[in-house]
Every structure is written in structure tokens, then in C-alpha cells.
């Protein structure tokens, strides 16, 4: 009987604790929480930090007619001297309490990035609700809040748009994702510069029915940092150059010209990059070897290019295009003395004993490294037809 009374008392006590708002002050009901998916950081007024939180507006996700409703973004902004002050200021007027455990994207404006981003990343890496696998983006050319507010998303939630862009960008290989954890690790290394993907407002859409201009978002490349400050952007082919070196190429289009000057589109199927550092008599050199496989996906002329000489010619063209992309971005890195490829880590890997000496003088050594770019390309096949339509007439 005594045990029964004890157990009953414990069960009642446990049940009562669930509503114990005095003990569990951080307790929050699910319908009272704002699940932040995108966190935008901008410069505010009077040197303040402006924080914009974006969540999916769940109220518009159901419709009575049974059709799929448009899922709009719910944005809310506030300012403060620090990140915490700015985010807490929201509590004064937000109808729901922000919860950051689902924050997938951290958007940082160009202005902030130019001044240094570490003090902003400290909050998101320190606060217990955030996750270190949130992806970071630098917003090029506009404020981060305007990007989430003025973006045409065809009724799709901005967080989902960004996720789709990440999935689609593999088809171009001009960008990739950088998580908070990766950024923190690279920022810890004083000899390595960081690159973080950049997004921007792209094509303007003008519709009479809309009260304000709307834009598409595009991911076009990387923002390159010296220490924690943005120094320049590398977009399109330059960004792909980074991806060749960093072995982050997944797919993409290589445009080459055939023997008669016609354009031929080659689709990258896979690529493998190996970096071999070497030290000879105090001289540092590095061989970057790229093995790439492509398929012919488009031929803009009626000539038959599928003979041995034709394929060899395309292979050479293709190797030249890739080599130029890599050499161009290596030149940029060496001129600016920014090792955003992490070449020093390759030297550390191969020469762990003499690395300490290299590390000390890396700023002087990196611009003088002789890079040798070797590209081995292989065109495997074409797809549903071989000779171009019309080639039989000749």
C-alpha cells in the first residue's frame, strides 16, 4: 500500500511538472514557437546589427478548396548592439517566440562581411539552440533582409528555394555549401583563407499586380575572405576553378569548339582532383591533376565529329578549358596571397615534420609556389543519337 501511494505520488508529481512554468521558464508550446529557418544579418542604423528571422508562415499552408496553398515567408526584424540583444528585442513584439533549432541558412550581408563576420558567427556557434550544420551565405549587392523580402519564390517558401538552389547548383558546379562547422574550422587556421558561397538578387520581375519589384535569387559563386573580412567575389568560371581544385565538381557544362568552330556542349559526368605538393631545394611546387569524364550532350553543327581525330580534338579543347579555369583562379589566389584552396594542408599532409617551418613562412611561400596543372579528360559517349541530324545529307 505504501509503495502504491509513493508511486501514485511520483506519477502525479511528474504529470504536474509538465505545466511547471516557474521551474521550466524556457518551456514553450509548439504552437507558440516561431521555427526560424533563415537568419539574416545586416547592418542596422547607428552601427546596430539588424537581424531578420524568417519562418514558414504555417497559416497559409492549408486551403479550404483542397488545392495546395502557397507557402509564404513570415519575416520579422529587430536591431541591437549585439546579436543576442537584437534577437531578444524581437520578444517585445513578436507574436511567437523564436526557436533557432531549425535554422538551416544564415545569410550575411556584404556590408557586414566586409567588416568581419567572426563576431556574428560567434553567437550562432555558441547559442545552444543553433546547429553547426547551418549553411552560410554571403548576400552580394544587397542587404540580406531585402533578399528574403523582395524575392519572387513562386509561392515556395524562401528556405525551400534556397534548399532547391543548393540541390540544383550541382548541375553547374559554380558553388557549393559551406556549413558553420566548416567555416569555424577554417577560420581557426590563420594561413588558410575561407570562401563562402554568395547569393544575390538576380533577374527582376515586373508584374503590374505586385506592389513591389520581385527578384529571382541566384547562386553564382563564392565570396573570398582574408581572415574574417570579405575581399572579393569569384563567380561563374572562377568559382568553378575553385571547385576543380577543391574536388567539388559534380556536374556542369564545358563549352568547346569543334574543328569548324561550332559549339559543342560537354556534360561533366565525374571528376577527381589530386594535389601533389613537392619540396625540392627549398622550392615549393604543386601538381594539380584533374581526371574528368564527360559526355557529348549537344552539337550545334551538322558535321560528324564522332571519329577518332574529332574526339581527340574535343578532348584537347576540353583539357585546355579546364586548365585555363584552374590556372586563372590560382593566379588570382597567388596575386592576392590568399590560400583559399587550403594548399598548406596538402603540404602538412605530405610533410608533417618540416611543416612547422613551412607554416611559419607560408605568407611568403604561397605566392611563389609553382603550380603544374595536369588535366586528363575522357569523352565517354553521347546519348540518344550519334551523328547530328542533317549530317547524312553530306
Amino acid at each position: 500500500m505504501r509503495k502504491f501511494i509513493c508511486l501514485t505520488f511520483i506519477c502525479l508529481l511528474l504529470a504536474a511538472i509538465t505545466g511547471c512554468s516557474q521551474i521550466a521558464r524556457s518551456r514553450i508550446e509548439i504552437d507558440e514557437a516561431m521555427f526560424v529557418r533563415v537568419l539574416s544579418i545586416d547592418k542596422g542604423e547607428n552601427n546596430n546589427i539588424k537581424v531578420t528571422l524568417t519562418s514558414k508562415d504555417m497559416s497559409s499552408s492549408s486551403s479550404g478548396s483542397g488545392q495546395t496553398a502557397k507557402q509564404q515567408s513570415y519575416n520579422i526584424s529587430s536591431e541591437g548592439k549585439t546579436m543576442l540583444e537584437a534577437t531578444r528585442a524581437l520578444w517585445a513584439f513578436a507574436d511567437r517566440r523564436p526557436y533557432y533549432g531549425h535554422t538551416e541558412f544564415i545569410l550575411i550581408s556584404e556590408d557586414i562581411a566586409k567588416e568581419g563576420i567572426l563576431k556574428y558567427l560567434d553567437y550562432v556557434s555558441r547559442d545552444h539552440q543553433f546547429r553547426h550544420n547551418s549553411r552560410i551565405y554571403i548576400v552580394k549587392g544587397s542587404s540580406a533582409s531585402s533578399l528574403v523580402e523582395d524575392t519572387h519564390t513562386s509561392g515556395v517558401f524562401i528556405g525551400d528555394v534556397l534548399k532547391n538552389l543548393e540541390n540544383n547548383i550541382v548541375g553547374l558546379s559554380i558553388s557549393s555549401t559551406v556549413t558553420l562547422a566548416e567555416a569555424m574550422f577554417i577560420f581557426d587556421n590563420p594561413n588558410v583563407s575561407t570562401f563562402i558561397p554568395c547569393i544575390e538578387k538576380d533577374i527582376k520581375i515586373v508584374k503590374e499586380t505586385q506592389a513591389q519589384d520581385k527578384y529571382y535569387i541566384s547562386i553564382k559563386g563564392y565570396a573570398v575572405f582574408k581572415e574574417d573580412k570579405l575581399v572579393r567575389y569569384l563567380v561563374n568560371k572562377e568559382a568553378r576553378g575553385i571547385n576543380w581544385v577543391k574536388n567539388r565538381i559534380t556536374s556542369g557544362v564545358i563549352l568547346v569548339k569543334g574543328r569548324k568552330g561550332e559549339y559543342i556542349s560537354l556534360e561533366i559526368i565525374n571528376s577527381q582532383t589530386k594535389i601533389k605538393p613537392q619540396i625540392t631545394k627549398d622550392n615549393l611546387s604543386c601538381t594539380i591533376r584533374v581526371d574528368v569524364n564527360t559526355n557529348i550532350d549537344e552539337v550545334t553543327a551538322a558535321d560528324d565529329i564522332f571519329d577518332r581525330a574529332g574526339i581527340d580534338y574535343l578532348n584537347k579543347q576540353q583539357e585546355e578549358v579546364i586548365r585555363k579555369e584552374i590556372e586563372n583562379v590560382l593566379n588570382i589566389a597567388q596575386k592576392a596571397n590568399l590560400d583559399f584552396f587550403g594548399i598548406i594542408q596538402n603540404f602538412h599532409m605530405k610533410y608533417p615534420v618540416s611543416w612547422k617551418e613551412i607554416e611559419k613562412n607560408w605568407a611568403e611561400l604561397f605566392p611563389r609556389i609553382k603550380f603544374n596543372v595536369v588535366v586528363n579528360s575522357k569523352i565517354n559517349r553521347t546519348y540518344l543519337i550519334r551523328d547530328p541530324t542533317g549530317s547524312t545529307k553530306k
Binding site: 521550466a24 521558464r25 524556457s26 545552444h128 550544420n133 569555424m184 574550422f185 581557426d188 608533417p352 615534420v353
Partner: protein
């Protein structure tokens, strides 16, 4: 069959051992090892194998001679009564401080990770009341509970580590060269200090049966623990990098927070927290039993039950007073408790063994 009804087997004791070391291993070892061993830190548990094996061999030799005595009685017999009593008293202090330390870590982890605005006294009272209730019975209850909980915790731990492994980067755990030997040895102090709790548990040796299986089962246990710790370090340092892990108070939790299975199953850190709460419950309960068993010999008591609630009250007060905040607690743990663990877990057993050999008691 167990010799007496209130005895536990070596296997059960090793189950308790695995649980009680798992919690501090996950909490302390990644950041401690990353601090000293950098990218080579994951090799440090292999070095810790050696001191633990030494202690296993020492205990095996001792128990060949002393079959039914408690460790406190063995100390008195080998090192003379006054010296033995003094050393046993030091062990009592050590285990008491450890209990308060782990009680405080348990609540600090909860308030530092998922319940930041809750007064930690609430968690201390809640946990200690449950432990007091569980200890109304006997060590055998905790032993049987450990037998059930240990596989669950181990499977959960393995599952989480397995999910982390595909995310690791090779440049965060390589290269390894001979220049890393000294850093690895320094880094191994953390894991050694925790593996060496092994000796402390043998203050329950009077409640232990099947001691003839001690060496074989202990070696197997320590190998399992070393392999698990190594894989955990590869996963955590491989994912976050040693420079980040070094700065993170709870790196395992931060790593688990990053797990995402096909972009669908995420936010599974609650599994790690639940695992930790279970492990800490056994850890604190086992340390209280060890302390009370030492006190029994020390004060020549027939029964320790009347002392139990008073001792738990003492632990409550010590938990509150052991540190002002988490930063003090971490400093205390890292710079004071690790060397003390090495002294009590390795050095004193070695002295005991040497004295026993000289005095031909072993």
C-alpha cells in the same frame, strides 16, 4: 551461481564500469585530447590501454591471494593499519569529490544544452532523490540495472557514432607522424584518468564473486572501451576539427546535433541526452555505493544503510559548493581531478603492489 545473495559477478561489475566511464569519456576526452593531441588526438586512447592493463594485472595478482576481503582491508593488511587507513580515507575523499563532481556535471550538462533557464538545484534534488530511492535496496539492484542499461546505452552510442562517421573529413584527423608521439601521450592523460576508475570499483571487492574471471573479462572490457573511444574521437574530431573540439565544452552533443539522415531525420540529440541521464544515474549511484562501502571499513560499521541518506545530503551540499560555475568546474576537472585520478587509479595501486611484493603479501 553467485556465492551469496548480495554479491555481484565480475561481469556485472564490468557492466557498471562501462556505464560509469562512458559518461565522462564522452564529455571530457574529446576536448581534452584535442587540446593536447590536435589532429592525432584520436590515437590517445591506445596509449591509455597500457596503464589500465597494468592495474588489471595488479588486481588479478592481489585477488589471487585476497579472495573475500574488501580493498580497504587489503590496504590495511599490506601497508599496515595506520598507513592503510590513511590511504583508504583518501580514497573515500576522492570518491566523494568524484560523486559531487559528476552530480554537478550531470546538471550542468542539462542546463547548458537544453534547459538553460532552469535552476539546476531542481535537477540535483530530482536525481539524488531517485538515487536515494534506488539505493534503499542493494548493490545487486544497481548491478542488474546496469546489465540491462549497458547494452542499450552502448547500442545508442554506437548508432550515433556510426551516423557521424560518413561526415568526417580526413584532413582533420591526419597527418600522423613521429612528432605526434609526445602530444598523443599528453592527450592520453584524459582517457587514462577515466579508465582508471576501474580500481575504485574494486573497493566493492568483498561483494564480488567469480574473481578468477577478472583478468580475462577486464582485458576484453578495456579493449572494447579503447576501440569505442578511438572511433568516437575519429568521428568528433573528424567532423569538427581539433581546433573547434578543443573549444567546445560538450563536443559529442554538438556533433550529434549535426546528424541529418537523408535530410529527414534530424535533431536527434535528445537520444544522446537520454543516454547521458541514464549513464549518470548509474555513475552517481555506483560512486555513492563505493564511498559508503569504504566508509563501512573505515569507521568499522556493521551497516551503512543509516548513513546513506546523510551521505546523499552531504553530496547535495558538495555539489552546490564544488564550483561557482561551469568554467570553474571544467578547470577543476581538467587540471586537478585528472592528475588526482592518475595518482589514485595507477600510482597508489602500483605502490600497493610493490609493497605487497616486498612484504611477500602478494
Amino acid at each position: 551461481m553467485l556465492a551469496k545473495i548480495n554479491q555481484i559477478s565480475v561481469r556485472q561489475l564490468l557492466c557498471i564500469y562501462i556505464i560509469i566511464v562512458l559518461s565522462p569519456l564522452i564529455r571530457l576526452v574529446p576536448s581534452y585530447a584535442a587540446e593536447y593531441g590536435k589532429q592525432a588526438a584520436w590515437l590517445s586512447p591506445l596509449v591509455s590501454l597500457l596503464p589500465t592493463l597494468i592495474v588489471i594485472y595488479i588486481l588479478d595478482s592481489i585477488f589471487k591471494r585476497y579472495k573475500t576481503e574488501s580493498m580497504a582491508q587489503i590496504f590495511e593488511d599490506i601497508m599496515s593499519k595506520p598507513v592503510g587507513m590513511f590511504i583508504v580515507f583518501l580514497y573515500f575523499l576522492w570518491s566523494t569529490v568524484l560523486t559531487a563532481l559528476y552530480m554537478r556535471y550531470d546538471v550542468e550538462r542539462l542546463t547548458g544544452s537544453i534547459y538553460p533557464n532552469i535552476n539546476f538545484i531542481f535537477f540535483i534534488i530530482f536525481t539524488l532523490s531517485q538515487i536515494a530511492y534506488a539505493l534503499r535496496t542493494d548493490l545487486t539492484v544497481i548491478a542488474r540495472m546496469s546489465e540491462v542499461i549497458m547494452p542499450i546505452i552502448f547500442i545508442l552510442f554506437g548508432f550515433l557514432v556510426l551516423l557521424l562517421l560518413p561526415m568526417i573529413r580526413h584532413d582533420t584527423i591526419l597527418p600522423i607522424s613521429y612528432t605526434d608521439i609526445i602530444p598523443i601521450i599528453k592527450a592520453s592523460r584524459g582517457s587514462s584518468g577515466i579508465y582508471l576508475y576501474y580500481f575504485l570499483l574494486f573497493f566493492l571487492s568483498d561483494k564480488l564473486s567469480h574473481k578468477q574471471k577478472l583478468k580475462k573479462q577486464s582485458i576484453l572490457t578495456i579493449i572494447i572501451l579503447v576501440v569505442s573511444t578511438t572511433i568516437m574521437l575519429i568521428a568528433i574530431i573528424g567532423l569538427m576539427g581539433s581546433s573547434v573540439v578543443r573549444r567546445t565544452p560538450i563536443p559529442f552533443l554538438v556533433a550529434v546535433k549535426q546528424i541529418s539522415i537523408i535530410n529527414t531525420i534530424q535533431n536527434i540529440e535528445s537520444v544522446a541526452v537520454a543516454m547521458w541521464i541514464l549513464a549518470d544515474f548509474i555513475l552517481i549511484a555506483a560512486l555513492i555505493i563505493v564511498s559508503l562501502n569504504i566508509a563501512k571499513t573505515l569507521f568499522n560499521l556493521k551497516d551503512i544503510k543509516p548513513l546513506q541518506n546523510i551521505y546523499i545530503l552531504l553530496i547535495y551540499i558538495l555539489t552546490l559548493g564544488i564550483a561557482n560555475n561551469k568554467l570553474e568546474l571544467e578547470t577543476f576537472s581538467q587540471y586537478i581531478m585528472i592528475p588526482i585520478n592518475l595518482i589514485f587509479g595507477l600510482l597508489i595501486p602500483m605502490v600497493l603492489f610493490a609493497t605487497g611484493k616486498i612484504r611477500k603479501k602478494i
